[in-house]
C-alpha cells in the first residue's frame, strides 16, 4: 500500500477514536466483562475441539476415500514393447508415466539399481550423447521426464514403491507377467515397435496421401454455372447436416467425462513411435550408471589403433577437403541453375494463366497440352521446396513423423515423372520411326469417320431413313447445308494432309518430355480436327431448341393460356380468333417439321457424345500417368507399416490362471489380467484410390445426371465438364499457391551446409571408435532412400 494512503488511514482512525472515545471505553469494559465471565476460555476450547475433530476424522476419511477411488478405478494400463531385449536377470523398467497407473515402457535396463537409475534420469545422464535436441523428445511425448516404472525378476523380499510394476520376463515367457500392488486389474498392451529408421510409425488416423489444404479451396471455387448449382446444393446439404449434428450434440447428455487415461491415447501413440530410438539411446548409456569411466588407452594400444584406423583417416581427410572446397561451388552452381529454371517456369506459367478478363478462360482451361505443361512446371516449382523440407528432417529425430507423408508424396511424384519419361521415350521413338504410317492412319481415320461417315449418314437422312417419311424439302435443305460445310472442311483437311507427318513427328518428339505429352497433344488434335462436328451439333441443337420452345408456347395458346413473364407463371388469356388461327397453323407446320430436325439433331448429338467419351478416355489416361499412387502401392507391398491407416486391438487368451496363482510374488493377490495386442492397420486400397473414386463420382454426376438427359432431350447445350473439376485430382499433389522465386531462393540457401563429416582433426589424436562410427553412420544415412 502506498505510504501516503497509510498515513491518511492512520489519521482517520486516530481522529475517529478521539471523536468517539466513549465507544472505545465501552469496548474495553466489554472485554473485561467477557474475561470475568469466562467467555474467551470457552471460545478457545471450542476451537481446539474443532481442530481435533478435523485432524482425527475428516483427514483420515478423505484419505480412505482417495484410496478407495484409486482401487475402484484401479486399472493398471501397461504398454509393453514385445521386441525389447530382456533377460532373466533382475532389471529396471524405464518409461513414461502418463498417470499413476498408466505407463508406457521404453526399456528394461539390466544389472542396475533402481535408485541409481532414477538419479541418472533426473540428472540426464541416460540421455547423454543424444544425436539431436533432447527437449524435443519431451515436447512431442507430452511428458516432462522419463521415470522408473518398476523392476523385473526381483524376488518378493524386494519392496518397491506401491505404484511400481513388478514384471517377470525372460526367454521362457512370451508375455511378461506383470503385477502391481496398487492396481486392482491389469491391462497389458503389447506392441511391436515401429522402426523409425525404416520410417515406420503408427497413427490413429489414416495417413493423408494428398495435400490437405486443397479441400477447403476446392469447395469455394466457382465452377461454371451449371456446376455451381450442384456445388451450392451440396454445400447447403452439408451445412444442414452440420447444424443437425450440432443440435444433437447440444441435446445429448454430457455423458461420461473422459478420464486421464482416455485423453492420453494420442500421447501414447507418439510415445510408442519414440520407443525404438529412445531404447537404443538408453541402452547405449547404461554403462555410464555407477560404473567408473574407462581408463585412457596405453601407448601400445594407441599405436595399434592408429595403425588400424590409418586408411579410414586418409579417406576421411580426402572427404573433408572435397567437402570444404569443392562442395560449396557445386552447390551454388546448382542453386543458380535451379533459380534460372524457376524464372523460366514463372514466365511460362504467367503465359498459361493469363486471362483477358477475370471470367474468361485461361489457356490452361482450354487445352489439355497447356494444362499438362502447367502441371509439370508447377511440379518443378514445388520439388525444391519439398526437398528442402525433407532435408531438414535429417536434423531432427527419426521418430518425428510429421514429414513422412511429404516424403511419400515427393518420391511418388518423382517416380511418376520418371516413369512418364521412360514410357514417353519408348512411345516417342516408335512414333518417330513410324511417323508416315501413323500420319496415314490418322488421316485415313479422319477421312473415314469424321467426313465420309458423316456424309453418308446425312445423305441417308435426306432420303427416307428407316422408312420414316420426313419432310423432304426441309431434309434436303438441311442436308445440303451440312454437306456443303463438310465439303469445305474436307478441302481444308486436304491442304492439311501434307503437314500431318510433320505434326506427328513433332508429337513423337514431344513425348521425350513424357508419355503424357503426346496424349494431351492427341486430345487437343482431336478437338481441333472435329471442330466441324462440334459446330454442327451447336447449330442443330439451336434450331431444335428454338422449335421446341415455339411449339411449347403455341401449345399454351392452344389451351387459351399464356406465359406471364412478370409473375413467372402461366395465366389464362383471351386470344382473338385471328391470333388463334395463325397460331394453330404455325403449330401444325412446326409440329410436322419437328421429326426432320430431331433426326438431324440426334445424329450430331451422338457424334458429339462419342467425341466427348473419347476425350474422357484420354483424360483418364492422363490422370493415371500424372497421379497414380505408384509409390504408395509399392510401399504397401513392401512394408505396410509405413502406411498406417489406424490401429486395432486384439484380445489374446490370458495365460492360464493356475500359473498366475502359483507364482510366488502374490499368491493371495490374483489381479485379473487381460493381454491385448496393439497392431497397426495398413492403409486400405480404397483410401489410396480415394481421389479416383471422387473424380469418377464427379464425372458421373456431371454426365449421367437427369439434368444432362433433360438438356439432351430439349436440345439445350450440354456443357463439357470443367477442366478444373476434372483435374482437381492432379492438383491435389500440389499446393494451392506456388512458392515465389524469392521464397525458393531463401529456402535453398537456408539448407544447412554440409559439415565436416567427423569431429576428427587430421593431425590430432583419434577420438574413441564409438563416436567416430556414430558420426559416419549418421552421414551414411543421407544415402538411405526409400
Amino acid at each position: 500500500m502506498h505510504p501516503f494512503s497509510i498515513l491518511t488511514l492512520a489519521i482517520f482512525v486516530a481522529g475517529y477514536i478521539t471523536a468517539r472515545w466513549d465507544l472505545v471505553t465501552r469496548l474495553y469494559e466489554l472485554i473485561v466483562f467477557a474475561w470475568d465471565k469466562g467467555v474467551i476460555v470457552r471460545a478457545a476450547q471450542g476451537f481446539a475441539l474443532l481442530t481435533l475433530t478435523f485432524t482425527l476424522v475428516l483427514i483420515p476419511v478423505q484419505h480412505i476415500a482417495r484410496v478407495e477411488a484409486d482401487l475402484h478405478d484401479g486399472l493398471m494400463r501397461v504398454f509393453w514393447p514385445i521386441d525389447i531385449t530382456t533377460s532373466d536377470v533382475p532389471g529396471v523398467v524405464v518409461g513414461w508415466r502418463n498417470s499413476s497407473l498408466d505407463v508406457v515402457v521404453i526399456a528394461v535396463l539390466d544389472h542396475v539399481d533402481p535408485r541409481s537409475v532414477e538419479n541418472a534420469l533426473k540428472t540426464g545422464i541416460l540421455l547423454r550423447s543424444a544425436p539431436h535436441a533432447v527437449p524435443r523428445i519431451f515436447e512431442i511425448c507430452g511428458q516432462s521426464s522419463i521415470h522408473v516404472l518398476g523392476v523385473t525378476n526381483r524376488n518378493s523380499e524386494f519392496e518397491p514403491d506401491p505404484s511400481w510394476v513388478r514384471a517377470t520376463v525372460g526367454a521362457s515367457y512370451k508375455v511378461p507377467k506383470i503385477t502391481c500392488p496398487k492396481a486392482s486389474s491389469i491391462q497389458i498392451n503389447l506392441f511391436q515397435r515401429p522402426n523409425p529408421l525404416r520410417m515406420q510409425y503408427i497413427s490413429l488416423n489414416p495417413i493423408a496421401l494428398s495435400l490437405a489444404d486443397k479441400e477447403n479451396n476446392a469447395s469455394y471455387r466457382v465452377f461454371d454455372s451449371s456446376d455451381a448449382e450442384d456445388e451450392k446444393q451440396e454445400r447447403k446439404n452439408k451445412q444442414k447436416n452440420r447444424l443437425l449434428v450440432d443440435k444433437e450434440d447440444q441435446h445429448s447428455g454430457v455423458g461420461h467425462t473422459p478420464s486421464q487415461k482416455d485423453k492420453a491415447l494420442a500421447r501414447v501413440v507418439n510415445q510408442i513411435n519414440w520407443t525404438w530410438e529412445l531404447e537404443h539411446l538408453l541402452q547405449k548409456n547404461v554403462p555410464l550408471i555407477g560404473a567408473r569411466p574407462k581408463r585412457t588407452l596405453s601407448v601400445s594400444e594407441r599405436v595399434v589403433e592408429h595403425a588400424v584406423n590409418m586408411r579410414d583417416y586418409l579417406i576421411l581427410w580426402v572427404c573433408d577437403v572435397v567437402i570444404l572446397y569443392a562442395f560449396p561451388i557445386i552447390r551454388s552452381v546448382f542453386i543458380l541453375i535451379l533459380i534460372g529454371h524457376r524464372f523460366a517456369a514463372e514466365a511460362f506459367l504467367q503465359i498459361l494463366e493469363w486471362r483477358a478478363r477475370p471470367n474468361s478462360p485461361a489457356l490452361k482451361d482450354v487445352s489439355a497440352t497447356a494444362q499438362q505443361v502447367e502441371i509439370r512446371l508447377q511440379q518443378f516449382c514445388y520439388w525444391p521446396m519439398q526437398y528442402v523440407k525433407l532435408r531438414l528432417r535429417k536434423n531432427d529425430w527419426d521418430s518425428v513423423t510429421d514429414s513422412h507423408p511429404d516424403y511419400i508424396r515427393f518420391y511418388n511424384s518423382l517416380w511418376l515423372v520418371a516413369n512418364d519419361v521412360i514410357i514417353g521415350i519408348a512411345l516417342g521413338s516408335y512414333i518417330i520411326d513410324n511417323a508416315d504410317w501413323v500420319a496415314d492412319t490418322i488421316s485415313m481415320l479422319l477421312g473415314r469417320y469424321t467426313i465420309n461417315a458423316l456424309q453418308s449418314s446425312i445423305s441417308w437422312l435426306m432420303g427416307w431413313p428407316a422408312g420414316l417419311k420426313l419432310n423432304s424439302e426441309l431434309a434436303l435443305f438441311l442436308g445440303d447445308l451440312f454437306l456443303w460445310v463438310i465439303d469445305y472442311w474436307s478441302s481444308c483437311i486436304g491442304t492439311l494432309q501434307p503437314l500431318l507427318p510433320h505434326i506427328v513427328w513433332f508429337i513423337g518428339f514431344s513425348s521425350f518430355a513424357g508419355a503424357s505429352m503426346p496424349i494431351a497433344l492427341f486430345s487437343d488434335l482431336l478437338s481441333v480436327l472435329t471442330i466441324h462436328i462440334y459446330s454442327f451439333y451447336l447449330a442443330s441443337a439451336r434450331i431444335y431448341h428454338w422449335q421446341l420452345t415455339i411449339l411449347l408456347s403455341l401449345f399454351q395458346l392452344f389451351q387459351g393460356k399464356k406465359y406471364n413473364v412478370l409473375r413467372n407463371r402461366v395465366d389464362a388469356c383471351d386470344y382473338d380468333l385471328d391470333q388463334l388461327l395463325v397460331g394453330t397453323i404455325l403449330f401444325t407446320l412446326l409440329f410436322f417439321l419437328l421429326p426432320t430436325v430431331v433426326v438431324f439433331y440426334l445424329n450430331f448429338a451422338l457424334a458429339r457424345m462419342v467425341i466427348i467419351s473419347l476425350k474422357a478416355i484420354f483424360d483418364t489416361l492422363l490422370s493415371c500417368l500424372n497421379h497414380f499412387p505408384l509409390f504408395a502401392l509399392m510401399l504397401r507391398a513392401k512394408d505396410p507399416r509405413r502406411l498406417p491407416g489406424g490401429i486395432r486391438f486384439e484380445l489374446r487368451d490370458t495365460p492360464d490362471r493356475l500359473s498366475i496363482n502359483s507364482t510366488p510374488p502374490s499368491p493371495s493377490f490374483p489381479q485379473p489380467t487381460s493381454v491385448i495386442y496393439l497392431k497397426p492397420v495398413p492403409l486400405t486400397f480404397t483410401a489410396m484410390f480415394h481421389q479416383y473414386f471422387q473424380m469418377g463420382n464427379r464425372i458421373r454426376k456431371h454426365y449421367l445426371s437427369p439434368r444432362v438427359l433433360f438438356c439432351l432431350v430439349t436440345g439445350r447445350f450440354v456443357p463439357p465438364i470443367h477442366r478444373k473439376a476434372l483435374y482437381s485430382l492432379q492438383y491435389s499433389m500440389l499446393p494451392a499457391r506456388r512458392a515465389g522465386i524469392m521464397e525458393m531462393w531463401n529456402a535453398l540457401n537456408s539448407l544447412p551446409t554440409k559439415k565436416r563429416p567427423v569431429n576428427v582433426y587430421p593431425y590430432g589424436f583419434p577420438q574413441p571408435n564409438g563416436s567416430l562410427n556414430g558420426r559416419r553412420h549418421t552421414n551414411g544415412r543421407a544415402v538411405r532412400g526409400m
Binding site: 486399472l75 486389474s185 491391462q187 490370458t654
Partner: protein, 251 residues
C-alpha cells in the same frame, strides 16, 4: 449344416476388458474342425479345376501363342526338348499341358471347347467367387476401458481381410440400442454414437443383427466395462442402463 443361428459368446479376462462375439459357427470341436478343413480343401480343388478349364479354353483359342505347342505336346515332342528351367513361364506351361494330358485332365479340353467363351468366362468367375465365400460369419465388439471400442467384421470372402474400426473413448458419446424396420420385422441393434467426424452412428454387428436379449446383454456388459459400475455398483448400473435403453427404444 456347419453353421447355426447367430449366438453370443463373451470373453472377459478382466472386468475392464470384454469381447463380445456373435458368430454363426458353433464352438470349435475336433470333428467340426476336420469337416471345415475338408470343405475348404474340396473348394480349393474345385477352384483349381476351374482355373485349369479356363487355361485349356485359352490354349485352344486363336489368341494363345502356344497354339502350335499344344499340337506338339505329344510325348515324343516333349522328349527331345531339353526341360526348361524351373519356375519359368515355359515350365509352368509345360506342366499344365502335362496335367491336361492325364486321364482326369483330358476331360477339360472337350468341355472348354463345348462351352462358348461368353458363357464360360462369367460362369467360371461366378463359380470362383462363390467358392471363395467364407463358411459362417463372425462379428466382434471389443470394449477396453480407457482405450475405446472396436468393432470388427470378418470379410465375406477368404481374400477379404478382417475389417476393424476403432473408436477412442474420447469420441464415444454413448452406446445404445435402437430399433429399425427391416422387411416386415422390427430389428434391435446396438449403436455406438461417435462424437465428431463423418459417420456419427456405428452399428455393431451390422450383418448378423442378433436378437434383442443378446443385444441388451451386450449393452449392459459394454457399459459396465466402459464406464465402470460393474461388480459392486452393478445393480445400479444395470438399472440405469435398462432405463436408458427403454427411453431410447420408445423414442
Amino acid at each position: 449344416m456347419l453353421t447355426t443361428a447367430p449366438y453370443l459368446r463373451t470373453r472377459r479376462p478382466s472386468p475392464t476388458t470384454a469381447e463380445f462375439i456373435v458368430s454363426t459357427l458353433p464352438p470349435m470341436t475336433i470333428p467340426l474342425r476336420l469337416a471345415l478343413g475338408a470343405v475348404y480343401l474340396l473348394r480349393l480343388v474345385a477352384a483349381l479345376g476351374i482355373l485349369l478349364l479356363l487355361f485349356s479354353a485359352w490354349a485352344q483359342s486363336p489368341y494363345s501363342s502356344s497354339n502350335a505347342s499344344l499340337s506338339s505336346t505329344s510325348p515324343d515332342a516333349l522328349d527331345d526338348d531339353s526341360p526348361p528351367p524351373l519356375l519359368s513361364l515355359a515350365f509352368i506351361q509345360q506342366l499344365l499341358f502335362l496335367i491336361l494330358s492325364t486321364r482326369p485332365g483330358s476331360l477339360f479340353p472337350p468341355l472348354a471347347s463345348a462351352l462358348p467363351p461368353w458363357l464360360l468366362v462369367p460362369a467360371s468367375a461366378f463359380a470362383l467367387y462363390s467358392l471363395s465365400l467364407r463358411i459362417g460369419s463372425e462379428e466382434r465388439l471389443l470394449v477396453l476401458r480407457g482405450l475405446g471400442v472396436q468393432t470388427s467384421t470378418g470379410g465375406r470372402t477368404v481374400f477379404h481381410p478382417l475389417q476393424t474400426r476403432f473408436i477412442p473413448t474420447e469420441r464415444v458419446a454413448d452406446v445404445l440400442v435402437n430399433e429399425a424396420f427391416r422387411g416386415f420385422g422390427v430389428r434391435h441393434y446396438l449403436v455406438v454414437v461417435v462424437r465428431g467426424g463423418e459417420d456419427r452412428l456405428v452399428v455393431v454387428f451390422p450383418e448378423l443383427l442378433p436378437r434383442l436379449d443378446d443385444v441388451a446383454r451386450v449393452l449392459e456388459g459394454a457399459r459396465a466395462c466402459l464406464y465402470g459400475g460393474g461388480g459392486g455398483g452393478g445393480g445400479g448400473g444395470e438399472e440405469k442402463g435398462g432405463g436408458r435403453f427403454e427411453r431410447r427404444s420408445i423414442a
